[in-house]
Amino acid sequence: MAANFWTSSHYKQLLDPDKVDVVQRLDKEKGLTLEEFRLIKIHMSLQIWKLALYVKVRQRVIATAITYLRRVYTRKSMTEYDPRLVAPTCLYLASKVEESTVQARLLVFYIKKMYAGASSSDEKYRFEIKDILEMEMKVLEALDYYLVVFHPYRPLLQLLQDAGITDLTQVAWGLVNDTYKMDLILIHPPHMIALACIYIACVLKDKDLTTWFEELRVDMNIVKNISMEILEFFEYCRPDSKGNILIPEDRINAALNKVAAKP
């Protein structure tokens, strides 16, 4: 499908790194720290992921949904936009945009199924259809109706092919999946993220791609910096022995309670 990232709203809305991880004023007043803010974003990305596994959508739907979520919180506070509702709504909207519509009814059903364990904190994740539809409009507005997202998956495949390392597809793809636990998609053009993932994949699988990289017309320092950021993310929230990222539930609940608390 023909497309041009450089004339898209996505490109025009790329942000400076220091504009991304900023706690909104309202949240700050509620005492939300930057670290908690980050944790909530990671946690909610994982929630979208989980839900998507239930409703069975393609990866790009998840990616778009998480991008929406992260974009929303560069502009709006968590106090006003409850992350627990925004996350499924983003998935719902993304499914429409990416043309694999998931019915809201279905989403609500799976959400209820997911949190069937029903601890008191999980209660707060349960929403009705009307909540999602209502939030959809708010999210659309928060996104300023800019809905098109370019993901690194497409350039990734192209680049892997050109470099002749299609055997690394799975590793690199996994890494791109991991980048959605960060805000990279709001900062860098997709091909740079893809390159960073290939760069890491080469290190992981010990492939020498020096000649290929040096002929690319890109600033390798930026590629390295993105790669470093990805590694630093893993350093920050160390995955367990199964490779899953676990965030202490009490910390998340504490953080969410902060923004949920009515003044």
């Binding site: 499908m1 023909a2 497309a3 041009n4 990232f5 450089w6 004339t7 709203s9 998507a52 596994l53 393609r58 990866q59 790009r60 429409k96 945009v97 043309e99 694999s100 519509t101 019915q103 809201a104 507005e141 109706y145 809905l147 098109v148 997202v149 370019f150 497409r154 350039p155 192209q158 680049l159 050109d162 299609t166 597809t169 799975q170 793809w173 996994g174 890494l175 991991d178 080469c202 290190v203 020096t210 990289f213 040096e214 002929e215 690319l216 017309r217 890109v218 390798m220 390295k224 470093m228 590694l231 893993f234 350093e235 160390r238 995955p239 022995s241 199964k242 490779g243 899953n244 990222i245």
Partner: protein
């Protein structure tokens, strides 16, 4: 309506996305739709209609069609998108849910659509599009005829409008490709075999689905690399590996770039093609050669085919001639020349490493340049034969002149016979062809410019005809950049052109008509201006300025405000642009001149050591010779060195400097000149004669004449500054000025002048009434601010005595240069007195406090009274404010000793409180006693009558103020006591006490003392202290002789001046009055004898107040006895019926003048000579009058 409005917006978006861009298909449509809904508040389907209508408005493009279809499930809107192919009557969503396809078609084609959808139609709805209703079908398992998708449009033609083929839209991207294989990143142009656009049965039936090779659909979500990073040490290892790889990549990139390889392109294929291959020349006969050249001159003959038989035999002149004769196009001619010279000088080796200069190439260029120069020379010789036989016709000149304006037109033979190459072309044509060749080859770097430049220069010099100039100047213009690069060439051509431009009658210009002359001069002026602007640095050493005004305006760099000289009017400008360029040239020249001036100053041996030595010498000399102007000019012109200036300025506290109003507006060199002057005036470490050992006390040796002289220079500078400011902005310096004028008035004894001068002062007063007092406390002028800065950085005591500084300050206060009230305010405002960060700060504060202690409120009183710039009401307010502020600063030092409230608010009450305490305290009473005793001693010594001494005791405030007037008050007081003869016992006792006092708590006592002093005037009103010493004997004399109480006046005040004048010149009338009161026994008893004078002078010497001493002596001149031997005591003489002063003053003329002689340095330095002379003239006049016309009483 909305549709029309939206269409513009959509057009724009379409331009951005492209109509056939599938990126538009889903998300973008959704964006559009949402925006329409959001902005128009329409319902979902209405919004869709609007989008469709809007799309409809934009015609002529094949539009993608987007739709929403309402799901049969209630309430859920589903977005879909597809392309409405212009040649097909249907559209299809490209990616529906599995197994679902949405089809739409025109109502008219419904049948067809339904025939495609042979299976069950789940849902049909219609949408208005293109003025017709479209049917949306949602079907399951469509069975379609494959032929439909093979692109046979005839079967499915829609209406005629869409039949017309429109040019396909192309996506554009200006990003560079990632590498030689990949296109630009994140850019996906349209492709004919785009899977989404290629409808296959499978896609139709099950929908289009993206697949990723190597990853099963189910796993694409689950993939993560978290496992790889579960170990901390692994992450560290990976990080290190990442860095290492980056280094390797960067190094490798750097190496490749060094090797000259194109970025991102591997060294292969064409890049490895051998360099230096060129066609070989082959021998051939004349005929073939001619045919070859003819072929060369024809554009349609390919060079590739010509390259196979490049003929030998054309070299140097022959080569150029043959090219000219056949008028070979330049590109081809250049090619032939290249081939020719490559064959002549073959490359040494085929592989020339990049970066190293090619020797063969240089030889070739050299050879070609020589040949070209030789040929040009020949042409010129033909133009201007030595015997002068072949003077070019005006016709030729005319043609060449036209080419001068537009230097290079395509060379054309100027006669019709050019088509036959056998005919000899004209000289003009030959020349211009060669010029073009030269230009071409210079641009390619194949010619060396220097031989040609030199040839042009030599010819310009040699052939002084305008025609030669016209021929040669265009060549020069071609090489102007090379000329500019060489200082020698610039100098050569500047000399030549400047001479020609400035001397229009020179031979080359005399013989031509005016328009031609104008164009020639214009061309030369153009070259000169270009060089000036291009290489201004070269001109710094050239000394070719000033240039005539038709080249550049002479904007003299010394003027602060650059003004256009009048001569500019003579220069005509066609456009405003030309005028501005002309002006900017002038600015460049003025900055060049400034630069040259600075440089010459730096290298001038006489100005070495920053001109300081020279200035010093001038100042010292002027002190002896009295030549003020030489010193003045030297001080303010020779003393200049940016580095030293900056260092000196840097020593000033930044906070103080930034808080001063004027400092920013004054040049560094002026500031430093004044610093230098201050240092010169107050420091005597340079001169061992004047710097005496500390324990040795001598009088009469040190006369402070340097200080007086410095003040004189400062006064001059102030006048200069004033006139400068007044010329630009009327009344900035007014406050400072008025003080100065009044002091100047002292020297004017003519009443009329005084009155005249006082008129503007009144004006300024009215002006000042309007100004708030705030302004008075601001820096009154640049000199004041500079002195404040100087005080801040001057280390008192290191290089000079504090006493010098004190006297200096007193003098500049008197002269209206320095204003204590502003100084105090500036110290407070700058915060310098609150800083306690470093020892340096403390030291500065100590210095400022020490100065402040010596500047009691009375100083301000003097200044204000002298300046008379303020109303009386304001006057008290100022002095009050000053005293309070001064106390605030001084109390900071005393803070430990006094437990007074530190809040600023109740300063006044604190102040009055302290005053009360002070006056009642025993220490205070002691001081008062001492002063009273001192006064008694003085009056006793001067043999004043006792009642006077007693009366002084009754007004201690007055006397105390008076005796404290002199700078270094405490010291002088002690000295005074010390040296008072005739009271040995008293003296000894007092001395001991005073010394004790001084050593125990000098600061405390003196400051509390001065604090109190601040207020004496508040109680007493206007009382002069300064005049006391001068007038003390006089006053008492008058008092005694006339028996009437006279209020004390100041010497400097106008009233005093007037009185002095009356008394000196119109003494008769006074005496009349006095004569009527012959009851003054005191007068008869008290005389001002030589002893008294000596004593008074001694007291003044000790207090360092030489000016008062000199003025006192001058004042005495008209009053002393004539002749050395006449001493009249108390007897009224008929021959000399002088005023009472005459009788009272019993000092001989010789004694007086010899006393005055002691102060000759002061007389000179303080510019008191005119006063002295006036006084002696008055005296002579009085003597003559009284001698010639006896006084009739």
């Amino acid at each position: 309506m909305i549709a029309v409005a939206l269409s513009d917006w959509l057009k724009e978006m379409t331009r951005e996305w492209g109509p056939r861009n599938h990126a538009f298909a889903s998300g973008h449509t959704t964006e559009v739709w949402h925006r329409v809904r959001h902005e128009s508040h329409l319902g979902p389907s209405a919004a869709l209609d609007t989008v469709m209508d809007a799309l409809l408005v934009i015609e002529g493009v094949s539009w993608p069609f987007y739709f929403l279809c309402q799901s049969h499930k209630k309430g859920i809107w589903r977005f879909g998108g597809g392309t409405l192919a212009p040649d097909l009557g249907w559209f299809a969503s490209r990616r529906g849910r599995v197994g679902t396809l949405t089809l739409g078609c025109a109502v008219g084609d419904l049948q067809k659509a339904v025939t495609f959808a042979k299976e069950e139609v789940l849902f049909i709805s219609t949408v208005k599009f293109c003025g017709m209703h479209l049917v949306l079908l949602q079907c399951i398992k469509l069975q379609l005829d494959d032929s439909l998708y093979a692109g046979d449009p005839s079967n499915f033609s829609l209406n005629s409008r869409r039949q017309s083929q429109v040019p396909s839209y192309k996506l554009k991207c200006d990003k560079e490709p990632l590498n030689s294989r990949l296109g630009p990143p994140d850019f996906y142009p349209q492709t004919p075999n785009c899977p989404e656009e290629t409808l296959t049965r499978e896609y139709l039936q099950s929908g289009y689905k993206e697949t990723v090779e190597g990853i099963e659909e189910a796993r694409e979500i689950a993939l993560t690399q978290g496992l790889s990073f579960s170990k901390f040490e692994h992450i560290l290892k990976f990080k290190e590996a990442l860095r290492k790889r980056l280094r390797v990549i960067n190094e490798s990139r750097a190496q490749k770039r060094k090797a000259g390889q194109a970025y991102g392109v591997p060294l292969s294929g064409q890049l490895l093609t051998k360099a230096g291959v060129f066609p070989e020349q082959k021998p051939c006969n004349e005929d073939a050669r001619r045919r070859w050249i003819e072929a060369l001159s024809q554009q349609n003959k390919q060079l590739r085919s010509l390259a196979e038989h490049v003929p030998h035999g054309y070299r140097r002149k022959a080569l150029f001639e043959v090219l000219i004769r056949h008028n070979v196009p330049l590109l081809r001619a250049a090619w032939f020349i290249k081939v020719n010279y490559l064959n002549q000088v073959r490359p040494a080796s085929t592989s020339v490493p990049s970066g190293t200069p090619d020797k063969a190439q240089f030889t070739r260029s050299d050879l070609l340049s020589k040949d070209v120069v030789e040929y040009l020379q020949q042409l010129l010789d033909e133009f201007f034969p030595k015997d002068g036989s072949n003077i070019p016709t005006p016709n030729k000149i005319q043609s060449s002149q036209s080419t001068m304006v537009v230097p290079y037109q395509t060379p054309q033979k100027n006669d019709s016979s050019s088509s036959t190459p056998d005919e000899e072309p004209s000289l003009d044509f030959k020349w211009w062809y060669m010029c073009h060749l030269v230009q071409w080859h210079l641009a390619e770097g194949l010619l060396l410019p220097s031989p040609i430049i030199e040839m042009v220069f030599n010819q310009l010099q040699e052939k002084e005809s305008p025609e030669a100039f016209e021929l040669l100047l265009p060549l020069l213009v071609d090489m102007i950049e090379s000329v500019a690069l060489s200082q020698t060439y610039v100098r050569m051509f500047m000399d030549l052109f400047v001479q020609k431009i400035q001397d229009p009658s020179s031979s080359i210009l005399s013989s031509v008509d005016s328009s031609q002359k104008l164009s020639l001069v214009d061309a030369m002026v153009g070259v000169v201006r270009y060089l000036i602007v291009a290489v201004p640095d070269t001109f710094v050493a050239l000394e070719c300025f000033p240039l005539s005004s038709n080249v550049v305006p002479d904007l003299h760099y010394r003027n602060t405000f650059l003004k256009l000289p009048e001569c500019v009017d003579n220069v005509q400008f066609d456009t405003r642009d030309a005028y501005l360029r002309y002006l900017s040239c002038g600015y460049v020249v003025s900055s060049i001149q400034k630069r040259a001036f600075n440089l010459s100053k730096i290298v001038n041996p006489s100005l070495q050591a920053h001109g300081a030595a020279k200035v010093l010498l001038a100042l010292d000399r002027a002190l002896i010779t009295g030549n003020v102007m030489i010193a003045y000019n030297s001080l303010f012109e020779d003393f200049s060195d940016v580095a030293v200036e900056e260092r000196w300025i840097a020593e000033i506290s930044p906070c103080l400097r930034s808080s001063l109003k004027w400092i920013g507006t004054i040049g560094l060199s002026l500031i430093c000149s004044i610093f230098f002057l201050c240092e010169w005036a107050t420091c005597d470490h340079r001169n061992f004669h004047t710097s005496l050992p500390n324990d040795l006390k001598l009088t009469g040796r040190k006369d402070f004449s340097q200080i007086y002289f410095a003040v004189l220079l400062l006064k001059l500078k102030m006048e200069d500054l004033l006139s400068l400011t007044q010329s630009s902005d009327g009344n900035i310096l007014l406050f400072g000025t008025s003080g100065k004028t009044s002091s100047d008035n002292d020297t004017l004894l003519d009443g009329a002048v005084v009155e005249n001068v006082s008129v503007p002062r009144n004006n300024t007063r009215s002006l000042h009434d309007r100004k708030s007092k705030r302004e008075i406390f601001q820096g009154p002028g640049p000199l004041h601010d500079i002195v404040v800065c100087w005080l801040d950085q001057h280390e008192i005591g290191k290089a000079g005595s504090f006493r010098c500084v004190e006297i200096f300050l007193v003098e500049i206060i008197r002269n209206g240069i320095f204003f204590p009230h502003a100084y105090v305010r500036q110290l407070i405002a700058s915060g310098i007195m609150d800083k306690n960060e470093s020892l340096l700060d403390m030291e500065r504060q100590r210095r400022h406090r020490r100065i402040l202690q010596q500047l009691p409120g009375s100083c301000l009183f003097d200044v204000l009274e002298e300046a008379r710039t303020t109303e009386v009401r304001l006057f008290y307010e100022f002095v009050h404010t000053y005293s309070n502020e001064r106390r605030l600063l001084l109390r900071g030092l005393l803070g430990g000793k006094s437990n007074l409230s530190s809040s600023r608010g109740d300063l006044c009450s604190v102040f009055s409180m302290q005053k009360d305490i002070d006056s009642s305290s025993p220490g205070r009473a002691k001081t008062k006693d001492k002063i009273t005793q001192l006064k008694v001693l003085i009056s006793r010594f001067l043999r004043f009558s006792l009642p006077f001494a007693m009366s002084m005791e009754t007004c201690p405030d007055d006397s105390q103020g008076n005796s404290k007037r002199t700078p270094g008050s405490l010291e002088s007081k002690v000295d005074l006591t010390e040296e008072t003869p005739g009271c040995e016992e008293c003296r000894k006792g007092k001395l001991q006490k005073l010394v004790d006092d001084r050593s125990s708590a000098p600061e405390g006592s003196s400051s509390s003392h001065s604090d109190d002093e601040d207020t004496w005037w508040v109680k007493k009103g206007s009382k002069s202290q300064e005049s006391f010493k001068v007038e003390l004997p006089l006053k008492s004399a008058k008092h005694a002789s006339r028996g009437r109480q006279k209020t004390v006046r100041k010497t400097q005040s106008l009233a005093q001046l007037a009185a002095a004048r009356i008394e000196s010149s119109q003494g008769a009338s006074t005496s009349h009055v006095c004569d009527n009161k012959p009851d003054d026994r005191n007068a008869a008893r008290w005389k001002l004898g030589e002893d008294e004078i000596l004593f008074i002078l001694y007291v003044l010497d000790i207090s360092g107040d030489f000016i008062s001493a000199v003025k006192f002596l001058i004042w005495l001149i008209p009053k002393v006895l004539c002749g050395p031997s006449i001493v009249v005591q108390g007897v009224r003489n008929a021959v000399f019926p002088k005023s009472r002063e005459f009788q009272v003053c019993q000092v001989g003329e010789a004694f007086l003048f010899s006393s005055l002689q002691r102060y000759e340095n002061v007389l000179r330095a303080a510019d008191l000579l005119p006063e002295a002379l006036t006084a002696s003239i008055h005296r002579s006049l009085a003597t003559i009058t009284s001698n010639g016309r006896p006084y009739g009483t």
